[in-house]
Symmetry: C2
Subunit: 212 residues, 2 copies
Amino acid sequence: MQEATNRSQAGGAGDMGKGEQTRQEIIRKAAPIFNQRGYEGASLSDLMKATGLKKGGIYRHFSSKEQLAAEAFDFAWQEAWSARTRGLESVTNSVDRLQQLVVNFVKRRGVVPGGCPLLNTAVDSDDGSFVLRQRVRKAFAGWSNQVMTTIRTGIRKREVRPGIDARKVATVMIATLEGAIMLSRLEKTDHALRAAQEYLDAYLEKEVRLQR
Amino acid sequence: MQEATNRSQAGGAGDMGKGEQTRQEIIRKAAPIFNQRGYEGASLSDLMKATGLKKGGIYRHFSSKEQLAAEAFDFAWQEAWSARTRGLESVTNSVDRLQQLVVNFVKRRGVVPGGCPLLNTAVDSDDGSFVLRQRVRKAFAGWSNQVMTTIRTGIRKREVRPGIDARKVATVMIATLEGAIMLSRLEKTDHALRAAQEYLDAYLEKEVRLQR
């Protein structure tokens, strides 16, 4: 009954029961820990310190560290994705939209401390957690599909060259940006990200845009 | 005297004292553990199992886990680098040589289990060990310099366009390959690496090679 009453309240946290609120709060606070330190590196004491809860207070809400890490990844990815795609729908030309996505990726960083959750969690889970890897695969598939859909729409609208392999363009864009964020974080400068942006911008202009 | 005697023997392990042999053996066996599981994930019991030594037998040779991880990274990178550059000097044209470097990166994998040590250790150390990050920076600088030198030689030999920004080309090549290896390991297919290869090959052909 308590839960039903809470759900009937309008807006915000009032929509969830207290247990669900606590659960979401744990996920939100655990996300930067996992993103910065990795799955193995995120210790129970780190998680307790970040959440202000004891072990029992955390694990009442999650069946395992892996489950918490998986939800923390989904949260971190959602935050990064929202930042990168915000406002994109107002860019009507498909190639301009892809170029803006590149700009957003380069400019809108640090939403969740520790760098891109996709890169971090992919590298972390490639010889590790299958559960985590599945979440990252889903995130990559979503991003890749968004780029492919933009390209296919662009072909129909005669903005993109008809012969383009949409999957290949999506893969190369994502690989270049993720590799560049790795190098930028290694060097602690923006050089690699700026180089990748300039290069992808020219590539989209010369090889992807339909020349009239 | 023992060490001097050993050093005077010709070839192989005979060149080192027994302590140094053991030390090298530990590094060689620890490298895949660190490369697959990361710095935090590589537990003492993993390292003991891989080396067949007890804690004291390992740490007699290294001042800390960080020092062992740093030496393991250097070893792993050296192995990867040797595989990727083997035979390159016989390719005389500078652009052909860069294209061959890309092919080697895509084809010669798995030298040290766990994927590219540069990618893994960069992502692992970006919010972590400064010592490790310095080693990765050195590895990246070496790779980047090799590409830049090839490009500058190519400009002198009139094989590469004179206006090319060598540092930018090196950064984009490395970013694209490292991002692609991350995606290939995520998907457990070669798609991303093949896409990156095709794309870099065309880029080097169209944008870097001097057209006559």
